[in-house]
Amino acid sequence: MSMEQAAKTPASAQRRRGGFTQHMNEISLFVAIAVLYIVFTATAGGFMTFNNQINILRDAATIGIAAWAATLIIISGEIDVSVGPMVAFISVALAYLLQWGVPTPIAFVFAIAIGAALASIAGILRAYFDVPSFVATLGLWSALRGTALFVTDALPVSIGRNDIVDMLDRPVLGVPPAAIIMLALFAVFAFVSRKTAFGRSVFAIGGNPHAAFLSGINVSRIRVALFAIAGAMAAVSGILLLSRLGSGNATAASGLEFDVIAAVVVGGTALSGGRGSMLGTLLGVLVITLIGNGLVLLGINPFFQQVVRGLIIVIAVLANIQAIKRGAARNKG
């Protein structure tokens, strides 16, 4: 065993920003996606149809929008396990707002504000009271799911006809708005994470919170902001969910947090913080979604699909880590 193995992450492995090993990760994910495409096209009927590709994009949106924010949170060294219940809660809250006759655009703004406010409770607990983010968001997870179920009695909250909401589910030139929103938000997050002081501060906090604090970065405020952003993104997912289902559902998006975290780590972001990329997460989201879609099309036993997913997550992360290590070793010479 070498020293690196004793350490939590092979930090020394990655030598240059945008360098070989960073790309190594993304290249290996590209290869994985290509392989998945080839395999599914050959074996799963209907996989390569336009419709199905659109479905994949639409499914990707559910995970993706939440995953962009989760990537920043994980880079900053924190974790958020409350995504699923947050999405469901917001879809319910929004449905009630619409039922009460709040104008749709205002209801959307409210929904996003509610999401940001609730999530920032977890952020405040983390930033100012030292409650580990896992605990704070676990509490939120339980409280939000419980509240949504309690208020609705697990029944869908119908919103009736609503043109704006319906529009959000109607494809534009064949592309569902959810996918467009996901890609637009991706661009924003990729930009923010690389080109703004906020984004770089997130990396700094994840890499060395102490140093970040000493160099005058407002660590607490950024932590709260990160959770608030995650809440807002979950709210956007909640709005899209409402438009897709036509009602607010307290039981929806169950286990979404696992998919989101899996996508982020498959994308090469380190759970220990300080390292990660939006492009990686985008590829991770695609891998997770493709697998989900392909296995359904292949008619694999649904329970067995769970087994395959578990294996693939581990294998993807394992391959990623090995690729980074090998890249580092090759860089040495």
């Binding site: 929806a252 099309l297 008619g299």
Partner: protein, 303 residues
């Protein structure tokens, strides 16, 4: 002719319960009966409308000829089913379905054992038991699965039938206990808070069996009895024993699966039933003998 063509059908099970293993077997048996080679693409919605919605989209892409589904939610599932309907794919509900209006619009057939009847039959059986035992004010604890809508309806049916015959009957506790382990723990706790509990009503299989186990482990055999839904091997064995479980209502998964497939084939062939609702018999088992008969008929344990 159509009779010899292969079938490609999508099936969505609502959650992880043994009942759906029966449905699957029923669908397969139905295909064999119809002399068709069946390709079945199956998924499990895990009780989540959002997953269900994305599965239905995938099934549309996969080019299935029909979708057999037990929708998670009457109001929550209509969008996806509408999309399938719009894509020209007949949708057959079983077990659960959409609201009346949406059903008429988007669904070809609904193979159903009505959940209200389901509860109602059991309520009747319970009432008869209490009348025979001369208990005019029995106290009942409910172990529910009310995170899905059917379970709420089952309880309503149960309460209505029971209260009609035994007006003094009273539901003193109602807690979630859908999985077996949770049901055992919750039922045990209920027995502590209500030592005079006369009966449990288990809304689903896990709840029924869990209540029976709790009654036995708390030493309450002879004092507290169990009425419940959903037959499994173990519940049948308990019924044969007849000390704790006194009555079970059941919609056969296999039977329902078979019926649903038959409706799907009809719909594919353009012969959808005039009346969308295709009723399926709800079976009541309230004697040891009936339990024994069930065990003989289901030796592989699949309900």
């Amino acid at each position: 002719s159509a009779q010899y063509k292969d079938l490609k059908v999508g099936a969505i099970y609502m959650d992880a319960q043994g009942f759906y293993a029966g449905v699957r077997k029923g669908i397969q048996a139905g295909a064999t009966d119809a002399g068709r080679k069946l390709e079945i693409i199956e998924t499990n919605a895990q009780g989540d409308v959002s997953k269900e919605s994305s599965f239905i989209d995938s099934l549309i892409s996969a080019g299935v000829q029909a979708i057999i589904v037990s929708p998670v939610s009457a109001d929550g599932s209509y969008r996806a089913i509408q999309r399938a309907h719009d894509a020209g794919i007949p949708v057959v509900c079983y077990n659960t379905c959409l609201g009346e209006k949406d059903m008429k619009e988007f669904v070809s057939a609904y193979a159903v054992g009505d959940p209200f009847d389901f509860g109602f039959k059991l309520g009747n059986a319970a009432a008869e038991y209490f009348l025979a035992e001369k208990k005019d004010a029995p106290k009942i604890g409910v172990l529910n699965c009310e995170f899905v809508e059917v379970c709420v309806i089952r309880r309503k049916g149960f309460e209505e039938a029971l209260k009609a015959k035994v007006p003094g009957a009273q539901i003193v506790a109602n807690q979630e206990g859908a999985t077996l382990d949770k049901a055992v723990s919750v039922a045990s706790t209920m027995l502590s808070s209500h030592p005079d509990l006369d009966a449990f009503f288990g809304e689903a299989g896990g709840a029924t069996l869990g209540a029976a186990r709790a009654v036995k482990s708390q030493g309450r055999v002879g004092k507290t009895v169990v009425f419940g839904g959903d037959m499994t091997t173990e519940i049948a064995q308990e019924l044969v024993d007849f000390t704790v479980i006194k009555a079970v209502v059941d919609i056969s998964g296999q039977g329902l699966g078979k019926l649903a497939l038959a409706q799907a084939i009809k719909s594919i062939d353009g012969q959808a039933p005039a009346d969308i609702k295709v009723p399926y018999e709800i079976d009541l088992y309230n004697t040891a003998e009936s339990g024994k008969a069930w065990l003989e008929a289901h030796s592989d344990g699949i309900p």
